[in-house]
């Protein structure tokens, strides 16, 4: 008994409990849904068989079905554009702002905090605001552009199939910049000041200092921000729901919204699961790159 008590307090038993708790949580809330989703992608599932396991297996039929649809390739490229442009722009703007707020000027931490306002707002609210900005006939943005003489004709930000995707991207960049900025600010603050001073004494220019000190020292943070950015961007659903619903004619549709449409609007849940399985595989791939690129670094 005493032995048990001791192991429980500071021995193997306590460790085991901690591991079991963490593992149990992961199994219940991560592994189970993931596996369930994977199984559904091989089955014929509709609304009414959602709760039972006893569903006809259809092999790879769902995969073939969804990948041969005419809209599949354009939605794939939309997703690539959406993620690529969003992540790069969020990073560049976020990095620039983070460096800006490193400068010593009155109220700088205060103003930096205010930038987070966009990030803490629910994306659906952000979407509603942007839909007023982007509205074609009476939108704020068109009014400004025309008043400033930049454009003559109205741009139909949300209903022009050539523009709609980029409108959602603009809103998403705005939404993601504060998060990038804060994470990168933390990284910048961690670079010792004397390294810069030493470089300055050696005659390194601002640009040289950026490329030889700031960037290499920020490697872990940049890796984290990029992979988290990819993952967050792939999860971005609310903006599509609020702005374009993937339209017109799927011109702004992306995998995450399409998957939801298939499952919950058209009730083709097996086919919708296929998309989420493919997205999970991609996210795992991104996460693996991230882990590889930062494993020899001291992680934040």
């Amino acid at each position: 008994m005493l032995v048990f008590k001791n192991t429980f307090r500071d021995g193997v038993g306590f460790d085991a409990i901690l591991v079991t708790l963490a593992l149990g949580y992961l199994v219940l809330f991560s592994a189970f849904p993931l596996v369930y989703n994977l199984v559904m992608s091989f089955q014929e599932v509709d609304l009414f068989s959602l709760a039972s396991f006893d569903r006809p297996f259809v092999g790879l039929d769902n995969y073939e079905d969804v990948l041969t649809r005419t809209e599949a390739s354009s939605i794939f490229f939309n997703t690539v554009k959406f993620v690529g442009i969003s992540v790069v722009a969020q990073l560049v703007v976020g990095f620039a702002l983070a460096m800006f707020f490193q400068l010593d000027f009155p109220l700088n931490t205060w103003l930096r905090g205010l930038f987070l306002a966009g990030w803490i707002m629910p994306a659906l609210v952000v979407g509603a605001v942007w839909s007023w900005i982007f509205a074609g006939d009476f939108g704020v943005l068109n009014y400004m552009l025309q008043a400033l003489g930049i454009t003559d004709a109205k741009i139909f930000w949300l209903s022009n199939p050539d523009v709609a995707l980029y409108s959602v991207i603009i809103a998403n960049i705005w939404l993601g910049v504060p998060f990038n900025m804060i994470l990168l600010s933390v990284g910048l603050a961690g670079i010792p000041e004397d390294v810069y001073e030493a470089a300055q004494l050696d005659g390194a220019s601002r640009i040289q200092r950026f490329f030889t000190i700031t960037l290499p020292m920020m490697r872990a943070q940049l890796g984290a921000v990029i992979s988290l950015g990819v993952i967050f961007t792939l999860q971005q659903f609310d903006l599509f729901a609020a702005l374009t619903q993937g339209g017109p004619a799927n011109s702004s549709n992306v995998f995450q919204y399409w998957s939801w449409q298939l499952s919950f609007q058209y009730y083709e849940i097996g086919v919708g699961s296929v998309i989420s399985v493919l997205m999970i595989l991609f996210v795992v791939f991104v996460a693996a790159i991230y882990v590889r690129s930062t494993r020899h670094e001291q992680v934040m």
């Binding site: 509205a135 339209g247 017109p248 004619a249």
Partner: protein, 402 residues
């Protein structure tokens, strides 16, 4: 049977009857209404008349109703009675989840299937059974701004009745320099887009199972012309009927295709002479069609108290003459509405109801509707010709039908 046994049985029955009279029957009712609206008002009135029946009303968001019901059925928490949108009745009926009311209706003194208009009746009919009773109906018509008609030199007493007249009027009413479009409608990629387009297809002889027709090509090309020529806003592609008609109320569109649900807002917001006329037809002698909206009251097959549930449905049918003035729906059956609100516009909608046709029925309606929305959107954005888009939609629909 000996006397003693018989006496015992009778006492047993009597005590059973008193027990059930004392015990309240509870019915669960799911609705898309908020407190103060149709189902809540009706449930209160019904409970007053039947103190032995208690109705628990629960609000479910319109978009969540199908998912919540499917979950409820799977977990055994389904209600006794629920509201279902017209095109979803077939989905639930095909699974045997709804109670076939045919025998109840036959025995009823209140409900006569013949009194229900053909559109609403077909929306609750599935393979010979009647699986619900419409709570009301709605349909669409052409609202127009009579003041703008006069300004443009058009006769407001003679609104367009054919597609060609609609096009000419819309063109004449379009004033880009004043930010006024000739026409507002909805071609959005949701059920609303299908709802608006289907009558155009049906008036030319097509239907949901036959979309690749000359008439459909003509209709889609006309819709495309509305957008390409600036007669309707490009945002028509992403705007529902409510928002489109909002631009009409604000004086930024001279006409709008929408339904009676617009009237309360229109009468408070629109500071002009607004009128309505029936949806224009392809030609003067073409067959008429109109959309059929609103939903049905259905009883789930799993209900423990189907008799009491049907009593409530009977009660709702008996109050059909009140739905227009009190709740803003059109009656789905042939009843006399005394002193209707907005009498001229009511007359237009009442006439249109005679031509209102059901969407479907088909258990996989959302997929059929998606194919139709796809054809509308790819034509209107210029990604495909109307012919190609409709051929593609037809092949998608055929895959669902076969």
């Amino acid at each position: 049977m000996d006397m003693k046994y018989y006496a015992l049985l009778t006492t047993g029955l009597v005590s059973l009857a008193t027990a059930s009279a004392a015990q309240q029957v509870e019915l669960d009712l799911w609705t898309i209404d908020d407190p103060g609206e149709y189902h809540y008002v009706m449930a209160d009135e019904f409970m007053e008349a039947h103190p032995d029946i208690k109705i628990n009303v629960r609000t479910v968001q319109f978009e969540d109703m199908v998912n919540d019901l499917a979950r409820g059925v799977a977990s055994g928490d389904a209600p006794d009675i629920t509201y279902i949108d017209n095109p979803e009745v077939a989905l639930f009926a095909s699974r045997g989840l709804l109670l076939d009311l045919s025998e109840y209706i036959e025995a009823s003194d209140v409900v006569n299937a013949e009194d229900i208009f053909p559109g609403p009746l077909s929306s609750v009919t599935y393979e010979g059974g009647i699986y619900g009773l419409p709570r009301g109906a709605n349909t669409i018509a052409l609202y127009y701004n009579a003041d703008m008609y006069r300004d443009a030199g058009l006769d407001p007493d003679n609104p367009p009745s054919t597609w060609a007249e609609l096009y000419d009027a819309a063109k004449a009413l379009t004033k880009p320099e004043e930010n006024v479009y000739g026409l507002a409608f909805s071609a959005v990629a949701t059920e609303e887009g299908t709802f608006q387009f289907l009558p155009w297809l049906q008036m030319t002889g097509g239907d949901y199972n036959n979309v690749n027709t000359e008439g459909a090509v003509e209709a889609l090309n006309m819709w495309k012309a509305f957008i390409d020529e600036g007669i309707a806003s490009p945002d028509t592609l992403i705007r529902g009927q409510w928002d489109s008609t909002g631009t009409f109320n604000a004086g930024q569109a001279a006409m709008s295709i929408s339904g009676p649900w617009e009237l309360p807002r229109m009468s408070s917001e629109a500071d002009f002479d607004f009128r309505a006329t029936m949806l224009p037809a392809p030609s003067a002698d073409a067959e008429r069609a109109s959309a059929l909206g609103e939903g049905d009251n259905v009883i789930l097959a799993s209900s423990d108290n189907p008799d009491e549930a049907f009593m409530f449905l009977e009660f709702l049918m008996a109050n059909m003459d009140r739905v227009w003035n009190e709740f803003g729906y059109l009656p789905a059956s042939d009843v006399e509405v005394t002193d209707p609100k907005y009498p001229e516009i009511y007359a237009v909608f009442e006439e249109s109801m005679k031509y209102a046709r059901n969407r479907g029925p088909h258990p996989e309606w959302p997929r059929i509707s998606q194919a139709i929305q796809g054809a509308i959107q790819s034509t209107l954005t210029g990604q495909a010709s109307a012919e190609d888009a409709l051929a593609d939609a037809q092949s998608r629909i055929d895959r669902v039908l076969n």
